[in-house]
Each structure stands twice: as C-alpha cells, then as structure tokens.
C-alpha cells in the first residue's frame, strides 16, 4: 500500500504519517508536483487556516492534484484539506479552493455554543461509502475546526454541532474528512485503512 502525503507547510504531518505507517503503508511525503502523477493514492492533510492552501497554487501543486484526480487516483483531504475541495471558504475569501465541490465553507454561526468545535463527536453515515465502510452510526471522531461544509449529495457522514454539517464527503475518487482520522482512535484507523485499500 503506497500513499503520497502532500506537505504544504500547513501544520505538522507527523501524526498522519505515523498512522499510515502503523497501518503498513509505504508513505512518501512530497512538496513537489511531479511525484503526484505516479502516486497510487494521495492525502492532503491540513490544520490551521484556509489561507495556507495558497501555497498549493504557488508551488504548482494545484494543477498536479487536478490532473491526479482526473486520472482516477484516490485522493483524501483531511480537515482544511477537505475544505479546500470546495469552491472556497469565508475564512479566506480571496483564496479559491479546488472547486471539485461547488459549495462554500462557512463559519459556524455565533450563538450559545463555543466556536471552535473541539473534541469527540459522533459520525452519522448517510449511505453507501467506500471510505466509511464498516463505520457504524454513532462512532466517535476527533474534530477541531471553526469552519464547516454544508450537507450536500456528496456528504457521506454528518455530525451535529449547532447544526448538522458534512463530516465526510465522497465524490468519485475524491474523499474528505472534516475530522482527524489519525487522531480518532480505532474508528479513524479503520477509515484510513479503507482509504489505503482503494485502488485507482
């Protein structure tokens, strides 16, 4: 099982890489576009600010990711990496996302509850999903974020915080999780394993 992890200097990659290695994957970390063309699978992690994705444009990674996705390579975005799959985010309106999903990422509405949403919350799978195969309704995952994706036909799991939002998405060979599977115990490892077993 080979997987290529994209390093775009947004947070640390150690946790994702060690979880993948724990599952027996051969992990390549790259900050260059070239290795993506021959990748078996690609993961775009990310913590922090949506503006950090600007670096994907500046380094030529964005078109390389677009080509990799078009060629059918399984692609997983985690947290900000998932949010970047959308058209953009109100967190950084001048920075476009990849636009594979047409909606815009918005901040949780202000109100009684705290924002950010930090901690363990439940996943509610909404139907058939390769990424979430074997995940039961109510299993817990670890979240840490203030912006979230709306529920759309691509949503394969919802989570409730203030309102229901998209916890995981799936569109063809493109996958995303708002939560951190690498920090979500056995549930998270199962999801990463599912991804590693996908064949492009």
């Amino acid at each position: 099982m080979n997987v290529t992890v994209i390093d775009y200097k947004a947070g640390n990659l150690t946790s994702v890489v060690k979880a993948l290695r724990h599952l027996g994957a051969e992990v390549t970390v790259t900050d260059r576009p070239a290795p993506l063309a021959t990748a078996e699978r690609i993961i775009l992690p990310g913590v922090g600010h949506f503006a950090a994705t600007k670096r994907l444009d500046e380094t030529g990674l964005t078109p390389a990711i677009r080509e990799a996705i078009a060629s059918g390579i399984p692609f997983l975005g985690i947290c900000v990496g998932m949010q970047w799959l959308y058209a953009g985010s109100t967190e950084s309106p001048s920075q476009p996302g990849l636009g594979v999903l047409p909606e815009t990422i918005e901040r949780f509405p202000d109100g009684h509850e705290k924002v950010p949403h930090v901690g363990w919350n439940q996943l509610h799978p909404t139907g058939d999903s390769r990424l979430l195969a074997g995940i039961l309704n109510g299993e817990f995952a670890y979240f840490t974020h203030s912006w979230r994706a709306p529920m759309t036909p691509a949503t394969v799991a919802t989570t409730e915080y203030i309102q229901p939002f998209a916890a995981a998405v799936e569109l063809g060979n493109v996958y995303g999780t708002q939560f951190h599977p690498e920090k979500s115990g056995e549930t998270g490892l199962k999801i990463l394993k599912n991804f590693l077993e996908l064949v492009g």
Binding site: T14, S15, A19, P116, V118, W120, G188
Partner: protein
Amino acid sequence: MLTRRIIACLDVRDGRVVKGIQFVDIIDAGDPAELAHRHAQLGADEIVLLDITATHEGRGTLLETVRRTAKSLFVPFTVGGGIRTADDAAAVFDAGADKVSINSAALANPGLIEDIGASFGAQAVIVAIDARRNKEAADPVREAHVYTHGGRRDTGRSVVEWAIEAESRGAGEILLTSMDSDGMRNGFDCELTAAVSESVRIPVIASGGAGTVAHFAEVFGRGKADAALAASIFHFGVSSARALKEELNQLHILVRLPC
C-alpha cells in the same frame, strides 16, 4: 453531540513518569509511552505529557520520550513543560505531539502564542494558566490572579483577562489549574472555571482538585468546563477513564462511550 473530554495527564521527569497513575495491575510511575497507551486503551480521550525536567540533558530525553509515546498513539497528544520558543515547539511537534501547552513562557512573551499558531495552527496551542483566588479582592473569583513557580509567585495578572488575551492572540484552548484546589481532592474550582469558560469562546480544560466522579460532574455542569484533566483520580478508586466515563454517563454527562 459533542462530548466532554477526559484527559489523562502524565508528569514526566528525565523520561520517567513521576507522579502517575496507579492501576491495580500496573506498578506506579513508569514508562510514559507504556502508560500513555494504557490510558488510551482504557478510554482516555486525550493524553497530556507534562515535562518537569529541570536539566538540559533531560530536555533531550523529552523529545525521545515524545517520539516513543506518539509512535502508536492515535488520540490527541499534548506536550507541555519547558517550551520557551517557537523552535522548542517545532521540535516537539516534529517528535509527534499534536498540541503544545505553554505557561510561563507565554506570560513572559505573549507573542509566542501567535508564533506557534502561525506555523502549526491555533488548535495546536494550549495556554496553561495556574490560578489562585484573590482573597483580598471584592470578587475573589473574577479577580483571581495568575501564578507561576508552582503557585508560589503572584504575577499580579487577572486570570480572566489573561485568558481573554490568550484567546485573542490565537490560543486554541485554555488549561486552567486551580492552585487552591490542586492536590486537595475537594473538587475543582467550579466558580473560577465557569468565570473563565464564560469569558472565552475557546475550550477550557479544568485541572486541580478532582477526588471523586461527582467532582467531574460538577465541573462539567456548574463549572462549564469543556474537558477535565484527570491524574490523581486514578489513585482514589476510579480505575480508568472508561470507568470514570461510565459513571459520568449515569449522571447524564455526555462522554465518548463506548471507548
């Protein structure tokens, strides 16, 4: 629904747990990596490793300890103690921590919160505050002071104001330790925890004073804590985070179960 977190804390000196957790079938103090895994297996939602090493040699040991502990730990992992610069934090993240906890270094240089957040994201920065009620003030809770040096030195700063400043500088969470309650087993300082939690939008982790399961229920209720640090509770009849959470569940506190 979002659950309240039970965070297991390990105090480590020179690579060994010094004030730790005594499970029935585990000899006390021991290897941090082993104890961290044990806690995660027994239902802890997160692990915090606080390094109380004073020596330079010990600092080197810390990174190796973090590396070994993080290697097969798949719940959030925080490391605190002696992180004075963004480079110190970077080394700890590189060794496998997900968050760092900074305390006196942030007081001395509040810009450190921004520096670490800029590279690793706000969610990765926990500002730890050691607090004591201000018994001479009209409102001892609202005017509680920030202390350093294990609660011996009064900085004169207001706890609530410092928490608000830490949030505005980009802290992801506040770890609030009541020095009045710490080690007393009489319960968390719920009034102080609530005062801080209601003043910020970021999560507040309560620490200090837990002696019974009821104390956790109180701090999640009246104290409005988002998470609670559990260390010595495991000395006093609660065998694991799972056992603690099962009892909290009976008291209608939302926790991650099964875990």
